[in-house]
Amino acid sequence: MKPKFGVIVFPGSNCDYDAYYSVKKVLGYEAQFIWHKETDLKNSDVIILPGGFSYGDYLRTGAIARFSPILDSIVSFAENGGIVIGICNGFQILLEAGLLPGVMLQNQSLKFVCKDIYLKVENSETLFSRSIPKSVIKIPIKHGEGNYFADESTLSDLEMNSQIIFKYSSGSGETSEVYNPNGSLNNIAGIINKRKNVMGMMPHPENACDPILKKTDGAFIFRSIAESFN
């Protein structure tokens, strides 16, 4: 079965079309946009919270989007085992909504970072990472607030339950501080909830799908998700 992806659109989302284009036009799955003021997920099988600057990043990233009407439906969808992926601002919204633990602080450099980076796949057993055929993938990041923070007990919980999916690394998978683009604790780039159906990641897989871009590692993530419906 081909899954239907629902891409949520907030005022200020700017990677919504990239996500839609990649899953529908490049990878050939079904996709639809859902405006944040709606409450119906329109039978979507997978929800994508896209990147951007919802509500202008005012107050804190994701803080206001978290109270958009669609979020209640997404929370119940996730509680019933529905698959949700939050990318960049989408990850920040998941944190504010409490669907994932922790917060996102400003990059340590105080600079917006936009570049291709390497990610070590820390957990390849999840439905988001199962079909990634290598241990290191290359995907772009573009954010000013991607400095993941959580208290010590949350962090040890994440490590213990294998909830960290991606860590910033070198091309060969070394995860030292040198390869940390934003100051994230333990080089964290992407995490998953305990139930393993909600994932947030700062890098943009939707911007590494189309072969014309000469980078396609992001497609592994969407394929992984889609293959869980087979």
């Binding site: 107050l59 804190r60 917060v103 602080l105 340590q108 105080l110 923070f149 100051g183």
Partner: protein, 83 residues
């Protein structure tokens, strides 16, 4: 009617790169005694009720649910009756 002033501070244990960068500016200006610059938020608004305990409850909930994120921030507020 009440006027509420909410001050949001980053928890002491959480790094404040912005405060650190600003403090470098202080050093450049020659303020050698300045230490521990931290940047927070100052938010003010009105609460249109005459019931003080209701006003307090609303300010508290607003601060906890939206204005601050308890994982990284603490808040305090002042409530003044204005008419």
């Amino acid at each position: 009617m009440f006027k509420a002033t909410v001050i949001i501070k980053r928890r002491p244990k959480i790094l404040d790169p912005q405060g650190k960068a600003v403090e470098q500016g202080a050093k450049l200006l020659g303020f050698n005694n300045v230490r521990g610059t931290r940047i927070g938020k100052y938010i003010e608004f009105f609460v249109d009720t005459n019931d003080k305990s209701l006003a307090e409850k609303e300010v508290k909930e607003y601060s906890e649910k939206l204005l601050s994120n308890p994982i990284m921030e603490d808040y305090e507020f002042i409530l003044e009756k204005i008419k």
